[in-house]
Symmetry: C2
Subunit: 386 residues, 2 copies
């Protein structure tokens, strides 16, 4: 059998109700459900090529141009699980037995701290699934690679149902990508501070030491119900409040961990103060924020306020030198924010945000033209696209 291949992209997702803590570290069964928003792949995505190569050729895996160890338990588990399901579904075993080559790259800087492993594992899982013709849920397998990757297997709003076993811990779509087309995101890449504790170690420490964690876990089901309702009704205010409160609570739990985990920094705090003050000045809750395990702010608003929000954020937090402050989906026009800035009681931090990425709701993984975009050549060797 000749070699075959598939190339596809997978999206980044941002949790509105956060995942932080595993009940089972190996199978990645989380302590609570989480709910996320899939970002448009027009602005950010991971691209993955998966292909079989001739018998006797070595299987390989490249991540962002760097060869990784295919023996890594998480990578191996994903490959094995996809093959197992494919076999059950009747895929030709000759194909499944061939060595495989996988290459994955992100089109956004790792520095953006945007859970690049989630997009990467979702892309790899989806590519292998397509390569082997697997039908049905793949979120379960992406989850084994990197917990929140399961939420990047679908577009729109996605709920990761915690479940209690490796079989029932899956992600399901709550609303499709065209449900709320007016939502806009502004991912603000904040000036770096020294590397914080990684999320795997951080979660473990929280589970072991945070006295407040059980109260948080107990409160999540109600939050999931409330935000699902807010999303279904496109109730921006309710969605934004629940999202901001859950982000704050996640960071509160990190602080209640011992030794404490700090992911937000002074710039993050100032951005939060700004969002609350901006809403006060506007007389209405029109902007929200959420922060993952890092200092970067994910701000959101509706289309009609996006240009203004981007202009005010740039005025307060850019270094004033960078002319291309908003990348990705750009504002349609520059808004004169000077009058608004007079009313805002927040001191600027020049250069606090390096740049921002504008984006919107997007869909799940999508196949792209393999001949044209493959990251691997016909022999399964990495194509240098730098």
């Amino acid at each position: 059998m000749s070699s075959s291949g598939v190339t596809l992209t997978a999206p980044v997702n941002i949790a509105l109700i956060k995942y932080w803590g595993k009940l089972d570290e190996t199978a990645i069964i989380p302590t609570n459900d989480s709910l996320s928003f899939t970002l448009s792949q027009d602005d950010m995505c991971a691209t993955t090529t998966a292909m079989t190569v001739a018998r006797g050729v070595k299987s390989k895996f490249w991540l962002n141009g760097k060869e990784m160890d295919l023996g890594h338990p998480r990578i191996r588990a994903v490959v094995e699980e996809v093959r197992k399901i494919a076999k059950v579904q009747g895929t030709d075993e000759t194909l499944l037995d061939l060595p495989v080559r996988i290459a994955s790259i992100n089109n956004f800087p790792t520095a953006a701290g945007l859970a690049s492993s989630a997009a990467g594992y979702a892309a790899a899982t989806a590519a292998l699934g397509a390569l082997y013709g697997v039908k049905g849920d793949l979120s379960r397998i992406a989850r084994i690679g990197s917990g929140s990757a399961c939420r990047s297997i679908s577009g729109g709003f996605v709920r990761w149902i915690a479940g209690s076993t490796s079989e029932d811990s899956i992600a399901v779509q709550v609303a499709p990508e065209n449900h709320w087309p007016s939502l806009r995101w502004l991912i603000c890449v904040v000036r770096a501070t020294p590397k914080a504790v990684g999320s795997t170690e951080g979660m473990r420490r929280t589970i072991q030491t945070s006295p407040l964690m059980p109260a948080r876990i107990a409160s999540v089901p109600d939050k999931i119900s409330a935000i699902t309702k807010a999303i279904q009704e496109r109730n921006f205010r309710a969605m934004a409040e629940l999202t901001m409160q859950d982000s704050n609570q996640f960071h509160a739990i990190c602080l209640d961990t011992f030794p404490p985990l700090f992911y937000m920094n002074d710039v993050s705090h100032r951005i939060i103060d700004f969002v609350h003050d901006y809403n006060r000045v506007k007389g209405s809750l029109i902007a929200g924020y959420t922060f993952d395990a890092g200092p970067n702010a994910c701000l959101f608003t509706e289309q009609e306020n996006f240009d203004e929000l981007a202009s005010v954020v740039e005025a307060l937090f850019s270094d004033g030198v960078e002319t291309d402050f908003v990348k990705g989906m750009k504002p349609e026009r520059k808004v004169d924010a000077s009058k608004l800035l007079d009313s805002i009681n927040v001191q600027p931090i020049k250069g606090g945000i390096k740049y921002a990425i504008g984006t919107k709701l997007g869909g799940g993984p999508r196949k792209i033209d393999h001949e044209k975009f493959s990251l691997l050549d016909a022999n399964g060797e990495l194509i240098d696209r730098a």
Copy 2:
């Protein structure tokens, strides 16, 4: 009757188990017990003179040289409560009817953010109590002035029993000042960030909005028992762990408040990382931290480690220019920290700490020579001591 007067000093106290939130805002009944450590008045104190003046002369109150409104509900409540008790205890009503003049100053900068109002109200309450010859508990009255002031009415380790009425919400001594003479404190005055939300407003917001606050309140009784035991046994490790965890939890609750309250900043976070790393390098828990509603770090250790701790903190966080980095109780010798610093995985923040104040456990309010130290002249006018 001729005028009479009294001058005394009262200490600063630092909570090991924090007070944050009132059940009753007027009477200042807290949501939970708190437990504090009274700092030596040799290094920091509030000094207050209270004196009666001739009938017809106006009553006045000066705080740090500035005349305050005696009609302020909290100040008035303290004066009225002391008089009420004095009357019950049989103090001559002619004395109680005379106008009163009170002046209070702190010998430490307000910038130190060290609950100066606690020391000030404790001093004013104690001075009025002495002026009118009141016997018995005064903590209840100091509490009406400024909640945590009740804990500055005693020396050593002090527990504020939340109670449920204005009568039974009082502070009691858990252990006297000579119980643990080897304890040392290093109050680190951190580079200022813009003014945060004040504690009265902050507490109110927490009570109204923090979903995790009930879990914290429910956990305090066990913490109070555990830290009381640790103090009684002079178990540094247990005392330090409980103190650090409670400080972190207090700030976690602030973050869980909506909009969130930020009191610690990047320098505070770095100091915490440093303390944990310092303990790791030393192979034993020998230093602890606690932070009130501000960025300043209150570090503590035992006498044998004080010189080294002060030297390492200075090396990491001073601006390198200030030669008088530790004020108050100074280290006996400068320790060469260079070898230790090689092992510590924490990046310095030059100038992050403006200066530090060394101190130890101290006693409650103490009368000082009125003739010599009175802040008011014989006519009750403010003496300019600047």
